[in-house]
Symmetry: C2
């Protein structure tokens, strides 16, 4: 297959780590949320083998956040997702299909509950921010919706636990799957979740302090030699093998969550109010 260049422009935003991955040998990009997402560092098969064995550091800043804050924030977040968040806890991540009035998928983000009135929606590749703004405006919700400066570094692979312990101390290993907390790196606090777009285990660092994040990126390589750390990116082979679906690739706004096997995240029997609930109920009756 012939290779075509990507024409860079400000519209396809770079990340705080782009210059680093280009020095490290990135060979291909995709575009995700209007941002450059590395897609290959040479052979994807070699990268797959390495990811399953050692540890990789990924520039996944393209996983953008939609921050929803304010009195009606919980109501708006719940309206957008078919997953029951009524018992959700601060410090936890939730995989939440977002659906529209027709019951069709808009996105399949991970939602982080930062406070009772503050949420981050860590999105797949569609402009959830405008869906949220439209809904908030129509419902006259008291919320503030922004895309905050957050540029995620993922640390993935079986040796990610030892590498992260070396940087953040033993305490990082106490983080439960899909839990998050704040950890110190050289005096700066970073929100870190035990999550990531592979099934090889690992962490995502939600970098808000850009300079510290860049230092952290470099530091992971400086101290990671003993774990054979390498740069990487979400790996097509691994993610398909692991059954991780991708909005835009495997499903889109023409599909509903029940068709995608997301049944466990569709709370039709709950009391909660979300878009498309009646439509999805009709589908289950067929």
């Amino acid at each position: 297959m012939k290779n075509y260049s990507i024409a860079k422009s400000r519209r396809l935003r770079g990340t705080p780590y782009t210059s680093r991955i280009e020095k490290q040998g990135v060979t291909a990009y995709t575009v995700y949320n209007h941002m450059l997402l590395p897609a290959a560092f040479g052979s994807i098969a070699d990268s797959y083998e390495h990811l399953k064995k050692d540890v990789q550091v990924w520039d996944v800043a393209a996983e953008r956040q939609v921050e929803i804050q304010g009195k009606d924030s919980a109501k708006l977040v719940q309206l957008m997702t078919c997953r029951d968040l009524s018992k959700s806890k601060i410090g936890r991540c939730y995989y939440c299909p977002i659906i529209d009035d027709s019951g069709n998928l808009v996105n399949d983000p991970v939602v982080l509950k930062l406070a009772e009135d503050k949420w981050w929606i860590s999105i797949a590749d569609s402009d959830v921010i405008f869906f949220a703004k439209g809904l908030a405006s129509g419902h006259k919700f008291d919320v503030k919706i922004i895309e905050p400066v957050v540029d995620i570094i993922a640390v993935q692979g079986p040796k990610s636990f030892d590498l992260m312990e070396k940087v953040f101390g033993k305490i990082i290993k106490e983080l439960k799957f899909f839990g998050f907390n704040y950890f110190d790196f050289e005096g700066a606090k970073h929100l870190i979740a035990r999550s990531g777009w592979s099934k090889q285990g690992g962490f995502e660092v939600y970098v808000q302090n850009t300079q510290s994040g860049q230092r952290l990126y470099d530091h992971l390589f400086e101290v990671g030699e003993e774990f054979n750390v390498k740069p990487g990116c979400p790996n097509l082979i691994e993610r398909i093998e692991s059954g991780l679906l991708s909005y835009g690739n495997d499903f889109d706004n023409n599909d509903n969550p029940l068709e995608c096997g997301f049944d466990q995240y569709v709370s039709l029997d709950s009391e909660i109010n979300f878009l498309g609930k009646e439509e999805l109920k009709k589908i289950t009756l067929h």
Copy 2:
């Protein structure tokens, strides 16, 4: 500057013309509305010279449509744009900044009025469909919102008029700037507008009949030799020289239309109701 490959995937959709432009020598892509948009056929400078002199055929299928139909469609379209559409006419295109509650830009599409209750929003690079769906849901508007199958072919450059006359007859030259009508090609009707993302003159064919559109694409090259027709794409040099701004490159959701010189499309003195009107009024008072 080093070249990086674009990693193709279904998420970065191809167009009905992708296989054709790849045979014709496209060298770089950008991504626009989750779709491949050609960005270069070799030298951009050579392409610029050619565009100003002759005629080019462009695969701009990435200019997607948001179709809004139904009883409340006019109300929803007007709510989204600061341009007064109360006197808008069927068969005309309107450049309409779309803004949010804060008065900031969401997109800067061309709006086509197809009927009193049917509109196409021909969008720049952001998911306007989800903004529209959110607003419609919140306001309980009686509308149907879809992304129809429309894959635009643009014919641009000073000789576009003669080339299009050769295909569609003299009548195509009667089309006024930003007017559209339906024209026959080998028995299929095509919506054609006198518009396009250059200032060299030309047309955009809103292809709904894909097979006929592919035939048309080929036909333009078959009969266009005398006009020195070549494949092309929106040209960075020409569009900057012509002062055509680009959402995501030159402005984005952090900017308001007054900052972008769109004053003539901001109808603050009208009776119409649109999002962000009060915010923009405050800005003009400063």
